[in-house]
């Protein structure tokens, strides 16, 4: 039976019946929010089967990663998809933040949603870091060691936070279990809920951020869903293409008794999205580079609609005059992170 095409389908129902044409154009949003959403769902879909194979102990972690990568049928594909979806999520999620900041889309009434999105992105970074640690090889072991020792530098609660993460005074089986649980439940479920809330707030805040004009031209949600479909297909092609041709990294195994098994020491310990922190760590005390600076960046971003741009006009206008200060601050932060990352990568 041919379905009644005039009735909206499930995906169309997720959208308002019509959308302002100007803001529905790809070159306004670049589809970054929707793509991040799809990438997160891909991470859940590929992550759950990986959970069946991964055994979270210090000895078995590396062994089961290798079993997934080399032995299990399509294990390499699942792991590569999971890896590349995470890389793309961090990249496209950050670009989404940049788009929202530069087009004034954080302004009232969307200030709460700005915070929700920022929180989802931060938790996604922690998810990526915990996933990186779960590889449990000499590179990620180095990052874990550096990471938990930075946490220890936190004033007053440092030791408590360290033991909370590590599960004892030393890195052990308990550490793997903790990172595994944070990764598969403790961080992923909150992000999933946050993303749902984030999407709901988009509708509740009056739909996609748009110009305040009385009768703007609008397109139907059917057209929008079709455009989204094309974008999602393109993203899936990119994801599958990357997973097919570029394997997720894996470094020599960690000796479960003696720590890193070999003299092969990684020159780059941090995952790529924290290389900028690693660059800072080379020149600043750990408390400043590892805690204060990232916290300052987070606060500067979180308080952007309150501190740097309290205007209510200029929404949906790229580089709007009212948001100049906020734009400059966000661009400076972005440029700093990109430059430090590049310096650490090639330097």
């Amino acid at each position: 039976m041919i379905p009644n095409m005039s009735r909206p389908n499930f995906f169309e129902h997720l959208h308002p019946p019509t959308i302002p044409a100007r803001e529905a154009r790809f070159r306004y949003t670049f589809g970054l929010g929707g793509m991040s959403m799809l990438l997160f769902l891909s991470l859940v879909v590929t992550g759950v089967p990986l959970m069946f194979a991964y055994v979270p102990t210090a000895v078995a972690a590396g062994e089961t990663i290798r079993a997934i990568t080399y032995v299990a049928p399509y294990g390499w594909l699942l792991r590569n998809l999971h890896y590349w979806a995470a890389v793309l999520l961090v990249g496209l999620g950050s670009l989404h933040l940049l788009r929202v900041a530069l087009s004034g889309s954080y302004k009232p009434p969307r200030r709460l949603n700005w915070l929700l999105g920022l929180l989802a992105l931060l938790l996604s970074l922690l998810l990526s870091f915990s996933g990186y640690v779960l590889r449990w090889d000499v590179d990620t072991f180095g990052a874990l060691t550096v990471g938990v020792n930075i946490v220890r530098q936190t004033p007053l609660i440092g030791n408590w936070l360290y033991e909370l993460l590590v599960g004892g005074p030393y890195i052990s089986d308990a550490t793997v279990v903790r990172f595994y649980t944070w990764h598969t439940l403790g961080l992923s479920v909150p992000v999933l809920l946050l993303l749902g809330w984030h999407a709901f707030r988009v509708r509740r805040d009056g739909g996609i951020s748009h110009l305040q004009s009385s009768h703007p031209p609008r397109i139907s949600r059917r057209e929008l869903v079709q455009r989204e479909g094309v974008t999602m297909l393109a993203l899936l092609c990119l994801l599958l293409g990357l997973a097919l041709f570029v394997d997720a990294p894996l470094a020599p195994a960690v000796d479960s008794v003696n720590g890193p098994a070999t003299a092969v020491t990684a020159s780059i310990a941090a995952p790529w999205f924290f290389l900028w922190v690693q660059a800072l760590l080379r020149h600043l005390p750990p408390l400043v580079a590892g805690i204060i600076m990232p916290l300052a960046v987070t606060l500067a971003l979180a308080l952007l609609p309150w501190l740097w741009d309290r205007s209510e006009t200029g929404t949906a206008v790229w580089f709007n005059r009212e948001g100049r200060l906020a734009q400059i601050i966000v661009l400076l932060i972005a440029a700093g992170i990109v430059l430090l990352t590049a310096w650490e990568w090639w330097g």
Binding site: E63, L77, E223
Partner: protein, 446 residues
């Protein structure tokens, strides 16, 4: 068709193609070959790629040892770079990928139950090799330093690496060697020696050219390399046309003369020029028979030798203790080399020294069990040497002394001096006196 529909069709097709690509890649994944060696209890996938490689030796069965216990590396990785990144002996240029290299031998081959155990149990192989002149090169270093006035006598003070020996059992043993590194005031010749002349010890990486190919460490002697350096075994990952590999992935005590000759009889060091002068008479005419080729190869043109010295293999006469060392650090090869013609041939006055094996754990029986070409059982009467070693492959059958070639199992009756027409003087028993009459005239080559 709208733009969206066209894009959907194109991208949908691309996604389909990529999916087919994933199926193709999965179908080309290798068939997994997994073993779980009994000594480690940890699975290994190495044979997935190295299927067909020879078992290293009967005393290191694959089911018990697997690969990783000796080689290190990542036995669960099927990516060549990752699997080999942590191999003992390294992978990079200048390293050998050889777990028996003396830089890693303790990790790979050591342990009290293996090759760094007690001397009483005959398990001190690594200590013996590390202190032997083959590894320390102490003799040559001492001679050159002495000749150029850098030390007052020829007693060894330096080796290619620092080594010490806490238990000295011989008169010529020295307690330790420092690492040889000529100071700024040393004569140019000594610097040149340090630069040019250190190819001749088992830690040195050999010249990469025919006749010189060999491994380092234990495998320098116990893994046979053909003169062309080509692999003739069954591991599909080792190129058959790329020189620099052993004949097969095997350790052996049936070591043919040409393995010793990858270092010995290859030429001479000129002290005047402080350089190595390679012999130039090889490979000789193409028309030579195998026997003639052996006669040509065995010794350098200037060498004096007897018939048995090229018909037999080096290991038929030179003992374990002479070659691998006796656990002491010596200043000279002469301090440790003691086998003479009379060891097997006796003298006019006496038969060679013999002993009858009574202990089933006797070293002669243990050594024989490592060699497929001869056997020793309790009750056999074999040659005993002045140093207490035995030649289990030279047995007295009650009337005759019969030698079984350790390398090829050929049988030789050993002629005895006693009762012969030999005119030697009782006080002239060293081999060079025997060479006066028994030197063999080489008809080919130099």
């Amino acid at each position: 068709m709208s733009r969206n529909q066209a894009a959907t069709a194109v991208l949908g097709f691309l996604l389909f193609v990529l999916t087919i690509g994933a199926v193709v890649r999965q179908s080309r994944q290798p068939e997994i070959v997994q073993i779980t060696p009994t000594l480690t209890g940890r699975p290994e996938l190495c044979l997935t790629c190295h299927q067909g490689i020879e078992e290293i030796s009967a005393s290191h069965p694959q089911e018990a040892f697997g690969c990783v216990l000796c080689h290190g590396g990542d036995g669960l990785a099927l990516d060549a770079d990752l699997a080999h990144a942590t191999l003992r002996g390294g992978r990079a240029a200048g390293t050998t990928g050889n777990p028996s290299d003396l830089s890693v031998v303790e990790e790979s081959c050591g342990g009290s139950a293996c090759h760094s155990g007690a001397a009483e149990n005959g398990r001190d192989h690594i200590h013996r090799v590390l202190t032997s002149v083959q590894a320390t090169y102490a003799g040559a270093i001492a001679q050159v330093n002495y000749a150029f006035g850098q030390q007052p006598d020829a007693t060894a003070r330096w080796g290619v690496f620092a080594v010490q020996d806490d238990v000295i059992t011989t008169n010529t043993g020295v307690p330790f060697l420092a690492e040889f590194s000529p100071g700024p005031d040393a004569p140019e010749a000594v610097h040149a020696f340090a630069q040019e002349c250190q190819l001749c010890h088992v830690t040195a990486v050999p010249l990469a050219q025919p006749y010189f190919f060999r491994a380092t460490g234990c495998a320098a002697c116990h893994t046979v390399y053909e003169n062309d350096g080509l692999y003739r075994g069954g591991d599909p990952t080792i190129a058959k046309d790329e020189p620099g590999h052993g004949r097969s992935h095997q350790l052996t005590t049936a070591i043919p003369y040409y393995q010793c000759n990858h270092c010995h009889n290859r030429g001479n060091y000129s002290l005047r020029q402080m350089t190595f002068l390679e012999r130039d008479d090889l490979p000789g005419p193409h028309s030579l028979s195998a026997q003639e080729q052996r006669e040509l190869d065995y010794y350098q043109p200037i060498a004096q030798f007897t018939l048995c010295e090229w018909e037999l293999d080096c290991v038929d006469c030179h003992t374990n203790g002479e070659v691998m060392g006796d656990g002491d650090i010596h200043s000279n090869q002469a301090d440790i080399q003691y086998v003479q013609c009379q060891t097997c041939h006796g003298t006019l006055a006496a038969l060679p020294q013999l002993t009858t094996i009574e202990d089933p754990e006797h070293p002669a029986i243990i050594s024989a069990n490592l060699n497929p070409n001869y056997s020793v059982v309790v009750g056999d009467t074999v040659i005993a040497t002045a140093q207490g070693e035995t030649f289990g492959w030279v047995q007295w059958d009650g009337a005759r002394l019969v030698e079984t070639g350790k390398v090829d199992g050929r049988l030789y009756e050993v002629p005895l001096v006693m009762g012969s027409a030999c005119q030697q003087q009782p006080d002239e028993q060293e081999s060079h006196y025997c060479h006066e009459c028994h030197a063999y005239e080489r008809e080919i080559g130099g």
